[in-house]
Every structure is written in C-alpha cells, then in structure tokens.
C-alpha cells in the first residue's frame, strides 16, 4: 500500500483541484481529505456519506461551582489564560489538566470535548475519508491522524493499493500529521514571489519525513521568469519538478460545477495533469 500526500506551503495553489483530478485517474483508491480545517475535496467528489463519527480529540476543564472556594490557584497557574474569575473559557483551554492537579478543593473535572466529526463516504472513484473540525476548535493534527488511520484501515480491508490525500496548507501541526509515514509528498506551488518564498520552507519540512518529494508548478505560464526561478530553486533543493500545469480557466469552471477537472473533458490543463499523474505513478512505483 502506498500513500501520496499533496501539500503546498502557501494555500490556494490548486492542490485540491489536482487531487480531485488524480482521484479520477488513479483507479480505485482510498481518497483522504486531511485539510480538516477547511475541507474542500467533497465539493469536487460529491461523496455519499455512509458513516458519521464524533471526534473527541481534546479535553477541557470544567469547574464545579459548588466545590470551588475561589482560592485562585488554578487561575494563577493556567499558562493559557483560560481561567478568569472562576470561569473557564473553553476556546482558550488546552486541556493540560494543571488546574485539575493543583485545585485543593477537587473542584475541577477534565472532560473529553466534542471537537469535530469524521466521515466514511463513497465516491464514484473509491471510498473517501474526510472530516470537519468543529467551529473554533484547536488541535486539528489529532483529527488528521484519525482520518489517515481510517484511510489505511480501509485500504487494507479492501486491498486497495493506494491512498491519495489532500493535505492542509502551511507548515504547522496539521501538515506534520499529514506527512508522517506517507510515501510521497507532491508539493504544488505557483510562480509567484510568495510561492517561491514558501517553497524552500515546505521542501525542508517534507525532507524531514524522509519520503519522496516532488514539485508541480501550477499556473506556470502566469510568470515564466518566476517559473524558471522555481525550477532552479528546486534543482538546488534537489527535488524534481515533475509537472507544469498552465493557467486554465476551465479548472475554475470545474470547481463551479462541482466536478473534477478531468471529467470536464476540455481545457489546456488536461494533458499536463495526466502527464503529472504518470510521473507520480512512476515515482511511487504503483504502475
């Protein structure tokens, strides 16, 4: 079983559109949306939800007012300013349980907290695991771990050879959770100065996981100078550039219709996306 994760450093580079296209090209695979903060893949793949599960990823403290003596000890020691005047702000609480341990009156309880939901669904192209982090909830890394774990279980149960995952933007905790144990990271960038600036950071992050990395330049013809710059930079960082996809309004058209761009059957991006998929397959060794 192999796992491909698409990441991007900076957001909005077209990661999800490319992953949606891959889902249609890969043959039956497990599809996974690890961008649990702002999941978008369902818009293109229209999954049919089969199972919904609650996710209790975090813990939160609760003060029992009848027992509390207002000694102030918990407030003094909470590092996250989550306790004010004997009240706990659940959005600030990180569930560290320091208050629970220091309370002389035994007035604090630590309770599991509903922080999101995850789903197992069916799409035309294979099973899909995705999730929705609750509003204003933290710790999306744990939910990403959960989604990936389920995806692996399903791949094993159904003997599917490949898991393709849409990763979150950035380099923080959800990205780390998306990359741990993956076989290949495909980094989607664009020829903007911001894209250039972010590439080096994300390449280094991916390198830390010892997986195969490769770069795809989306909208490469937006700025041919920056595009060459990215190619040089990638060479210096020793990651291959395995795809160049042109700026093509049909990609947006597909998003508007809620379908993967490959099923639209037109536009300049089609050929290059298929070539990119070939290259990914070669590097992953799935064909």
């Amino acid at each position: 079983m192999k796992e491909l994760t698409i990441i991007s450093g900076k957001g909005g580079t077209g990661k999800t559109s490319i992953l949606g296209a891959f889902a249609t090209l890969a043959g039956k695979s497990v599809i996974c949306d690890c961008d649990v903060d702002a999941a978008n893949l369902h818009i293109l793949l229209q999954p049919n939800i089969k199972e919904t599960h609650d996710f209790y990823g975090e813990k939160k403290a609760e003060i029992v007012p009848e027992l509390c003596t207002n000694c102030g000890k918990c407030e003094e020691l909470c590092q996250f300013q989550a306790i004010q005047q004997g009240q706990i702000n659940p959005y600030a609480c990180e569930g560290c349980a320091v208050c629970y341990h220091v309370c002389p009156a035994g007035a604090v309880n630590i309770k599991p907290h509903l922080s999101g939901q995850w789903y197992i669904s069916e799409t035309k192209w294979g099973p899909m695991v995705h999730a929705k982090l609750g509003i204003a909830q933290g710790n999306s890394g744990l939910l990403v771990n959960m989604v990936r774990k389920k995806a692996r279980e399903i791949a094993r149960e159904q003997s599917l050879p490949l898991i393709i995952s849409d990763g979150p933007p950035g380099i923080g905790c959800p990205v780390i959770s998306s990359l741990a144990g993956t076989d290949m990271a495909l980094i989607v960038t664009e020829p903007t100065v911001s894209g250039i600036h972010d590439l080096e950071r994300i390449v280094k992050v991916a390198a830390g996981f010892g997986c195969v990395s490769a770069v795809c330049i989306n909208k490469y013809n937006l700025d041919e100078y920056n595009c060459r710059y990215i190619e040089d930079l990638a060479e210096r960082l020793q990651v291959p550039v395995i795809g160049r996809i042109p700026y093509d309004l049909t990609v947006t058209e597909a998003v508007l219709q809620g379908i993967p761009v490959t099923t639209l059957g037109k536009g300049d991006a089609q050929g290059p996306i298929q070539e990119l998929w070939q290259q990914v397959g070669n590097l992953l060794g799935v064909r």
């Binding site: 991007s8 450093g9 900076k10 957001g11 909005g12 580079t13 999800t16 903060d37 702002a38 999941a39 978008n40 818009i43 813990k59 020691l77 590092q79 996250f80 959005y91 990180e94 569930g95 560290c96 349980a97 320091v98 341990h101 220091v102 982090l133 509003i135 204003a136 909830q137 933290g138 710790n139 999306s140 890394g141 979150p168 933007p169 950035g170 380099i171 923080g172 905790c173 990205v175 780390i176 664009e190 020829p191 903007t192 100065v193 911001s194 600036h197 972010d198 950071r201 280094k204 992050v205 830390g208 909208k219 937006l222 700025d223 920056n226 700026y247 947006t252 998003v255 508007l256 809620g258």
Partner: protein
C-alpha cells in the same frame, strides 16, 4: 483601530488586500502598522520591500531535568496530557515538539527536579518601510505550534497606529489567535464553491469570537454570485470587489502591490477603510 484580514482558505488574496490597504492609508500620512501573523508562511514583507532592522526570538519554556534531584517517581509523565515526557528506566525523555509548555510537570514534580528552560520556536522581525511599521512573525522550521508566535507578533501592537493584521489561512487555532479582540475582520474570498465553503467556516468562527466582519470578493466575475447570495442571507456587507484579471494576477506574481501596479485602486482601498471604520462605529 485593529482590523484583521483573514480568509477561510489560503491564496484568496488576503495579503494583497492587507498590503494595499496599508500602503493606501500610509500615503494619507496616517500611522499604519501591519502585523504579518501568517507565521507559517509570512509574505507581507515581499510586497512592502521591507528590510527588517530588528529581530527578537520567541521562546517557550520546556522542562529540563536535574538528575541529582529526580527520584524516578514518574509523576511528571503521568500528569503530562500531551505525552511530551516519558520515564524510561532511569532516563527522562522529553519531546519538545509536542510539549505545550503548560508547566504541569515542573509545578507538580514532588522533588523539584524539573525546571523550565527556553526553547526557540520562532522569530519576530520589525522593520520600517516608511511610513508603514511592519512586524512579521516566523515559525521556526521543525516547530509546529504557531499560536505562541502569533501572540508574540500581536504583543507589538502600537495603539497609536491603525493596526492591520494579515492573518493565517484556515479557521482554527492560529487564526483565532490572530483575530481575537480585533475591532473588525475583513474576509477575503473568491466566488467559487471552495471560496464559499471556507467563508462560511470563517464567519462561524468570527461569530464565536464576537468579531464583526465583512467580505471582499477577489477574482470577481460578473454573474458568479454565489458569495453575494450568502452575504445577503447572512446580512454581511460586501465591502469591495477585485475583478478576475490576468494583469492583476501577473502583478501579484511579481510581488507588486495592487495599488502600485494600478494606482486607481488607492481611492478604492481608502473607501474600504472608511466603510470598515463606519461599520465599527455603528
């Protein structure tokens, strides 16, 4: 006045709006401070051509053990909710990457064998690209927990200036840290189902935080009214529209702020500011 610029998803033009707004206000001789709180991928300095002239390191405390005092009781590992400390035979293993710096272990160690030591998690850079004061946070590579760096940037807020905060993408912890307590949040989105999906999440988050918000539609295409319909339903003002134009995308690609590639935008960004100021007052 503290105005945050955010967007449920990345790449919608958040930095474009934040930098152009700051430049337009600065040209009116208004004191402006731009805080780049997108600490995982800070980009505002590229557009402002800003050379930082001061840098501070952001530290978080992590535990360090004094084996002369440790009694190998295992209490620290037991209280740590994040599995950041483990007792293996006669060695304490500390995993700084998952440590939340809650202090539980060093407060509760019965032998006083643990003490907090500073660990570098990022930097805050300050620069003056006359007359805009820019403060950028940068998460250190290999560290994953960005809210403390966002907090460190926000500690530099100068109340005498108009403060513009370029927030991180998404709608979870780093963004909440960046927008909490601001007077208004400008949400930048695009008129596609992706844009709408992420906008809805961002609006819900802002309601929880009690921050009023309005919407800027970037890459606007006449007739593509998916965002307008949502805003109307929710009673959210559409503050500005930036059309889908290849020349705007190209200038952005080169790192040229919109108000510099096309100065007619200055008046529109000042108008945007006036609208936001009006919304805050009402």
């Amino acid at each position: 006045m503290r105005i945050a610029v955010a967007s449920g998803k990345g790449g919608t033009g958040k930095t474009l709006v934040a930098t152009s707004l700051a430049i337009s206000l600065a040209e009116q001789k208004k004191p402006v401070q731009l805080l780049d709180c997108d600490v995982e991928e800070p980009n505002a300095h590229i557009f402002l051509k800003n050379k930082p002239n001061a840098e501070e390191t952001v530290f978080l405390p992590i535990p360090q053990v004094d084996y002369g005092l440790c009694q190998y009781c295992g209490k620290c590992a037991e209280v740590c909710q994040f599995n950041a400390i483990a007792l293996m035979k006669r060695t304490l293993v500390i995993f700084p990457d998952v440590c939340h710096s809650c202090g539980g272990c060093w407060h509760l160690c019965p032998a006083d064998a643990l003490k907090p030591v500073a660990r570098e998690v990022g930097t805050v850079e300050m620069g003056q690209s006359d007359p805009i004061k820019l403060v950028s946070g940068r998460l250190k590579l290999g560290t994953h927990i960005s809210p403390p760096v966002v907090k460190a940037v926000r500690e530099k807020e100068d109340p005498a200036s108009i403060i513009i905060i370029d927030g991180p993408p998404g709608s979870s912890c780093p963004v909440m840290t960046a927008v909490a307590g601001t007077d208004y949040c400008i949400l930048v989105t695009e008129p596609t189902p992706f844009g709408l999906n992420d906008l809805v999440l961002a609006v819900e988050m802002l309601r929880v935080l009690g921050v009023p918000c309005g919407v800027v539609i970037n890459r606007d295409v006449p007739g593509q009214d998916i965002i307008d319909r949502y805003c109307e339903m929710q009673g959210l003002p559409v503050l500005m529209r930036i059309p889908l134009q290849t020349q705007i995308a190209r200038a952005y690609a080169k790192g040229i702020p919109l108000v510099e590639s096309d100065p007619t935008w200055r008046a529109k960004f000042l108008e945007l500011y006036q609208r936001v100021a009006g919304e805050v007052v009402s």
